[in-house]
Subunit: 482 residues, 2 copies
């Protein structure tokens, strides 16, 4: 046997895969894990534990799941429980109805018809109700294994390698980093458009329009990506702003990709979620019959926060089903799981007034939204009292994305170390207070501005205390480097 070089090595492997990175899980997370170990080993720190404020994982932070939803899962998974007196009648009725639609009544089958037909029917009904009767065709809906996977799937349809120019994707800045990563892996080109921080993170349509000629020299801009409510920005687009964006998409022949996963997380008085699709239909047939729209939603956020379930859906508008039905084939490599599917079905059609579980459901939902709203107000208040921090109104989603002033000396010091100034800021905060934030630059931000993202998921008193520590840190930081 001649000794040879191993076949699969770092050098021989697929180099584009090797290059994949997730900026949000960068050096800050690595350092936080190190500090956690150091604390366990008895190294002295000015804090007793790491405080994670970087993830939008509701249940990991103590939010309780929707009782009705979990009951239906338990009943459907373990149908012997249907004989138990322990569950409300509507949960049992729902579980029985779901089991009837499953192959041999089991969540353990592949259930291709449930995934490809039953669920799209239910999702279309939800969309119709949500959009005040705007029609939704189940044939235009595909169940996804969560939004991350949905974005990858949609890009796999849109990005066409055989064309002379690369496919361009207009992306809001700041923007959830997942988009940057998937666009990079897909071979498409990112065309940033800056949200207008001075106007509460509104989308500035003039800016987009003006950037297009330059973009068209280096790529073929095909997709206008809209995230509403915004992540990390927490803004909710007004109907007027959405109309402008749709008008632009029609004028410039752009397909709209709408990430609407936070649609249920709107809690600011006066802020209302308008789906892009509803506004599209309000604009009349010259838009609603022409503008191509792909919208995604999931149950990872919203009122259930079931991140662990990895399930959501994609609705296609004005797109030939032959274009996306190929996803059913690609999906045979990545079929959504059945328990996730039934969770989606239940959360899109929750208990109604008069149902035995309605009161509990409504109370849980209202408590969640009130709690987010209260935390958003407190966060704005606390942060906006700090000289050098400015926080826009937080209308939806689960985060604040305040702007922080960083003194020139700190900027230069960061640059000397090859760091972004807000990386430097967040690393200092981590070392001094044990708090882990996401740095603004991982989402993108206007040149010369610095931000961090903080998830509003800790219980309110803890959150206030975290914000207090950030406030103290900021004052000290400003004093040290001004």
């Amino acid at each position: 046997m001649t000794p040879r070089k191993k076949l699969l090595t770092l050098e021989s492997m697929n180099q584009s895969v090797r290059a994949a990175t997730v900026p949000i899980l960068g050096p800050l997370s690595v350092r936080a894990a190190e500090i956690q170990r150091e604390i366990q080993e008895g190294v002295y720190k000015p804090f007793t534990e790491i405080t994670q404020c970087s993830f939008g994982d509701m249940q990991a932070m103590g939010y309780k799941p929707c009782t009705f939803l979990r009951q239906v899962v338990a009943l459907s998974t373990c149908p012997e429980l249907l004989e138990s007196g322990q569950f409300p009648e509507d949960a049992k009725t729902r579980a029985r109805a779901i089991l009837k639609t499953l192959d041999d009544g089991s969540v353990g089958s592949y259930n291709p018809d449930y995934i490809a037909q039953t669920l799209p029917d239910k999702i279309a009904n939800f969309i119709k109700r949500r959009d005040n009767g705007v029609p939704s065709n189940p044939r235009n809906i595909i169940v996804s294994s969560g939004t991350s996977q949905a974005i990858v799937s949609v890009l796999s349809l849109v990005v066409n390698d055989e064309e002379e120019l690369n496919t361009g994707i207009l992306l809001p800045v700041p923007c959830y980093p997942l988009y940057m990563d998937t666009i990079g892996l897909s071979g498409a080109v990112k065309v940033p458009y800056y949200l207008d921080e001075e106007r509460g993170w509104a989308a500035n349509v003039n800016n987009i329009q003006e950037s297009l000629p330059a973009a068209r020299r280096r790529c073929n801009p095909k997709v206008l990506c809209i995230i509403n409510p915004g992540n990390p920005t927490g803004h909710v687009l007004t109907r007027e702003n959405i109309r402008e964006l749709i008008h632009l998409a029609a004028e410039e022949n752009l397909l709209i990709f709408a990430d609407e996963v936070y649609q249920e997380n709107v809690f600011s008085p006066g802020a209302v979620f308008h789906s892009i699709k509803k506004v599209l239909y309000e604009m009349g047939p010259q838009y609603s019959e022409r503008v191509q729209l792909i919208s995604v939603n999931s149950i990872s956020k919203g009122i259930s926060g079931e991140c662990g379930s990895r399930v959501g859906y994609i609705e296609f508008v004005n797109i030939d089903p032959a274009v996306f039905e190929v996803l059913y084939i690609l999906k045979s490599f990545n079929i959504p799981h059945v328990i996730g599917g039934l969770m989606l079905e239940v959360i899109l059609d929750p208990p109604q007034p008069g149902d035995p579980s309605y009161e509990t459901f409504f109370r849980e939902k209202q408590t969640l939204l009130d709690n987010l709203s209260e935390k958003a107000r407190s966060t704005e208040e606390i942060l906006n009292q700090v000289p050098g921090i400015h926080c826009n109104p937080i209308q939806g989603a689960l985060y604040a994305f305040p702007r922080v002033q960083i003194p020139g000396r700190a900027i230069r010091l960061a640059q000397d170390r090859g760091q972004e100034p807000d990386d430097f800021y967040c690393h200092r905060l981590l070392e001094e207070a044990g708090i882990v934030l996401c740095t603004g630059n991982s989402f993108g931000q206007a040149a010369g501005t610095y931000h961090f993202r903080i998830a509003l998921l800790h219980p309110i008193n803890e959150l206030k205390s975290i914000l207090q520590k950030i406030t103290e840190f900021h004052a000290k930081f400003m004093a040290e480097y001004s």
Copy 2:
């Protein structure tokens, strides 16, 4: 607004995605669905319903799920049930233990540590037990969203576009069609090696070795794919045959990709499942420290048959973790769901003698294996009595893959219609008896031989009656075309 061509159309979309097809769901399935509709519309057929024998979906065909597994899922999803008297103590204990390892005790969190650390630890323990103590390092294990997705992930590591020659994958023939599809989508090249039907579908190592020089002129053969127990062939490789394959891989510097998803479905007296990894270690350090191996398993088959859960694992042997840890990043786009993860954990560590649930678990497992064994024997017996049909011993997995003789006149007729002869055969069977099989050519078969795959999942009396109808059809077909 100038009217323009829509942006995303069949012509403008990604053409390699558009080309994706799943041969197993080809014209036969389409025609079966049509016939089903015709029956509902009152069209006369010589049968009253379509009989699906093409899918390996155990629970869809009436196999009951593992009681203990489902109990633990219900308890973990709906922890209020932990207070109920309805569950055995060991199910409660297990659920409590699992909840302790989850972020804030909830299946609804992303639970990255559970997926990336807790589960790999449990899986490594299972592998060690299975392989009589051969070490397994949790760092070399990644939880997958099922085997289909695992194959795609592994190919994404191995296929290197930047090399001059395309990556070649040595694939058994016949072979589950998923491999052909994913290899096609990945840009790799299929290098078939024929299993030896005359020797019970053994892998003929001489054939493989002899085919390599020609293969090396058109690609760089990097991966030797082994499916054991075989799908569609139902054979179980002997230890000696596995040793030969490992020896070949070492000699020819091939990475072994082992699809071992049917490892628990071995039911023929005398047949034993030997994992490739165990045999690799038995061959001593000159092999076990050098041959690169990637092995996959899932809970879709085995004794739980939880197809709907979409979860499994990949073990990497002799591969630098830096090569595959990139999958954790890619996987942030495709994280396995948490309920699936806990199902995996439970099924890999089922109740033990003395546990309250052991008796039920053992009885369910034994009933399943006895039932498959009985059906395999009956299938062999019935088919081997038919002139012109030959069925090899079925030792494992869930299928029979008999060879059928097709008369010359039928072959010519099929060719006139542009069909494969076994497509013609299976279409005729569908029209005359309403039975849906998978055609041999969708798996690949030696030139001039014809086969079909039948899943052994109908209850035994139904299966016997289906086989009887196939027998009658075959006799008629032979008479008609001889």
